[in-house]
């Protein structure tokens, strides 16, 4: 009971637990557990022969947090910033530290601009975006979409319809916009 000094009794004794659960108590002694993040100074544990690594060449002005003194010696080169989203990203990195909400909100905003721009650009390529294959929605038919949800009190069922709206609204908006543009152009041609 929490209202008295004693610890509540456990449903099973250590002996019963040891008999029931493979390995029970194997790491009972904290010394057997890898200790991180309790800091233990060990400067060269794995194979590094440097104190400061050789620097990776910078092939374009690599964006970095202003909390860093300089560009780190190694960095990713996955997707260099480009276009409007790239300009927003560069501004967010140049102007705001990680401690500022503006830094992160600008980056989230740039992500949305990037998505929209990339989708539009894809229509000018031989590999346009395809909402059917890219959302993986076909898995609903191959992996028991209805049976996986029916008769269960899954908390996520409350918001899953919202996900559908979030995924499909740009496509619906683009469809409506396209339809209205085509209709307006055809009316002009008729005049």
């Amino acid at each position: 009971m929490a209202y008295t000094p004693d610890r509540p009794p456990l449903p099973e004794s250590p002996e019963e637990l040891r008999a029931r659960i493979p390995g029970w108590g194997a790491d009972l002694d904290p010394a057997d557990r890898p200790a991180v993040p309790k800091e233990v100074y060990d400067p060269h544990p794995y194979g590094a022969v440097w104190d400061f690594p050789e620097r990776q060449p910078e092939h374009w002005p690599r964006e970095r947090s202003i909390e860093h003194a300089f560009l780190t010696p190694v960095f990713g080169t996955s997707c260099p910033p480009r276009g409007v989203s790239g300009a927003i990203r560069k501004f967010a990195y140049r102007r705001y530290s990680e401690g500022r909400a503006a830094h992160w909100l600008l980056l989230v905003g740039a992500d949305r601009v990037d998505t929209l721009g990339s989708t539009l650009r894809s229509f000018a390529t031989r590999h346009p975006d395809n909402p059917i294959t890219e959302t993986g929605i076909l898995a609903e038919f191959k992996h028991h979409g209805i049976r996986s949800r029916r008769g269960q009190k899954r908390a996520d069922l409350v918001h899953q319809p919202l996900d559908l709206v979030i995924v499909s609204w740009p496509w619906i908006a683009a469809g409506v916009l396209g339809f209205r543009t085509v209709r307006r152009l055809s009316r002009r041609v008729k005049r």
Binding site: M1, A2, R7, P8, L10, P11, E12, P14, R20, I21, G23, W24, G25, A26, D27, L28, P34, A35, V36, P37, E39, Y41, D42, H44, Y46, A48, V49, W50, P53, S65, P73, V74, T77, S78, C79, Y93, E98, W104, L105, V108, D111, T115, S118, T119, D129, T133, E134, G136, L138, A139, E140, K142, H143, H144, G145, S148, R154, A155, V158, L162
Partner: protein
């Protein structure tokens, strides 16, 4: 090469992409033989993580065969079968020298609050991940390890994050003999945390989730007592009643961002991106642990602030411990536990998805269809 690429929230595809190349003398190029989709990849997939750029390849859980090495690599050779921890780390900066490999200061120019992670947005350094045929592995002398001969690729890939992180979560709880441990979330990480809690001497392990098939796995894989929070009006009251109105000694948040169970939190975080994650599981952990107890957090949260009940944590005198897992540090002990049969990671695998069908794999995992707990990705060249 063929690689998964991100096209925007809820959209990914496989396309032909330029193969990675050696960009630093200590790089290696690894041909991927197994990758996995991690629960935290879903945060990227859902557009939760700032600076996730269209065109990026995800995947921080992978194993493979060394294809090329840079001129300064000494410990690996082409043909070596390697497992690669999800953290990219230099091994010698101030933080690495103190064992904080997840917090390396030399690999992520985009942020100082988080280290470098494969395929995990530019916030984590802008490295492409392993859901592809090939991947660039920086600091090849430091991060990867040759897979022991007795270990198969399926076990090894789970050790690159999920199993190591689950064990780490239990370790962060500072469990002592007889502790009552409650684990929020019965995904691969939560399941491993629950199983690991017993190894550390827990007296009772309770797992909370809302998916019955995952709770069934928690009973079989982790020998845990389970409760579906959807069947109870208030999970905190439930846990207080279960623990003589005292609370658990240790609460482990193995959920992270996008926790379900509170629509308001979910909409403001996962949908409107106004929070770095829905902290509902974390708040349940804070409220259901006993005064003076420990809350362990290894569920992934974004860098934007979240509405966490910090006042309760302060007033209760809690110890909050958290970090990304320094994976490589966990491996020697985990190898022993696996060889002894105490942990059986491959029991977590429910699906194998060819790389070409990865969009369906993401949807399957995200929508929790077909009893999915852990999907592996198999590249064509594997």
């Amino acid at each position: 090469m063929r690689a998964m690429v991100y096209r925007g929230p809820y959209r990914v595809r496989v396309e032909e992409k330029e193969a990675p190349r050696i960009e630093h003398p200590n790089d290696a190029i690894v041909r991927v033989t197994r990758a996995a989709i991690c629960g935290s990849d879903l945060h990227l997939y859902h557009g939760m993580m700032p600076d996730t750029r269209v065109g990026m390849t995800f995947g921080h859980e992978f194993v493979g065969v060394v294809d090329q090495v840079g001129p300064s690599v000494r410990t690996l050779r082409p043909g070596d079968r390697v497992m690669v921890p999800f953290n990219i780390f230099c091994g010698t900066c101030y933080f690495c020298a103190r064992g904080l490999y997840a917090n390396c200061h030399n690999v992520n120019p985009n942020a100082t609050a988080v280290g470098g992670i494969y395929g995990y947005s530019h916030t984590c350094g802008g490295y492409d991940g392993g859901q592809a045929e090939y991947v660039r592995v920086p600091f090849a002398d430091v991060g990867p390890s040759v897979i022991p001969e007795w270990m198969d690729d399926d076990t090894a890939v789970l050790l690159t994050d999920a199993v190591a992180t689950g064990y780490f979560g239990a370790q962060l709880g500072d469990i002592t003999e007889g502790d009552v441990v409650v684990v929020f979330g019965a995904g691969p990480v939560g399941l491993t945390a629950a199983a690991s809690a017993w190894l550390m001497g827990a007296g009772r392990v309770i797992v909370i989730d809302h998916l019955e098939y995952r709770l069934a796995k928690a009973r079989s894989f982790a020998h845990a007592e389970t409760y579906n929070f959807s069947e109870h009006a208030d999970v905190v009251v439930l846990l207080k009643k279960l623990t003589d109105h005292r609370g658990a000694d240790v609460a482990i948040d193995a959920v992270g961002a996008e926790a379900d169970g509170n629509l308001l939190q979910h909409v403001t975080s996962a949908k409107l991106k106004l929070q770095g994650g829905s902290p509902i599981a974390l708040n349940w952990a804070i409220d259901s642990v006993r005064k003076g107890g420990t809350v362990s957090v290894m569920g992934a949260y974004g860098p934007i602030f979240s509405a966490v009940k910090f006042g309760d944590a302060m007033n209760k005198g809690l110890t909050l411990r958290m970090n990304q897992c320094p994976v490589k540090r966990q491996w020697p002990r985990l190898f022993e536990h696996i060889r002894n049969g105490y942990l059986k990671p491959t029991e977590l695998i429910t699906h194998r998805v060819p790389l070409e069908h990865i969009a369906e794999g993401y949807h399957l995992f995200s929508a929790k269809l077909d009893g999915c707990i852990k999907p592996l990705i198999v590249p064509t060249a594997a």
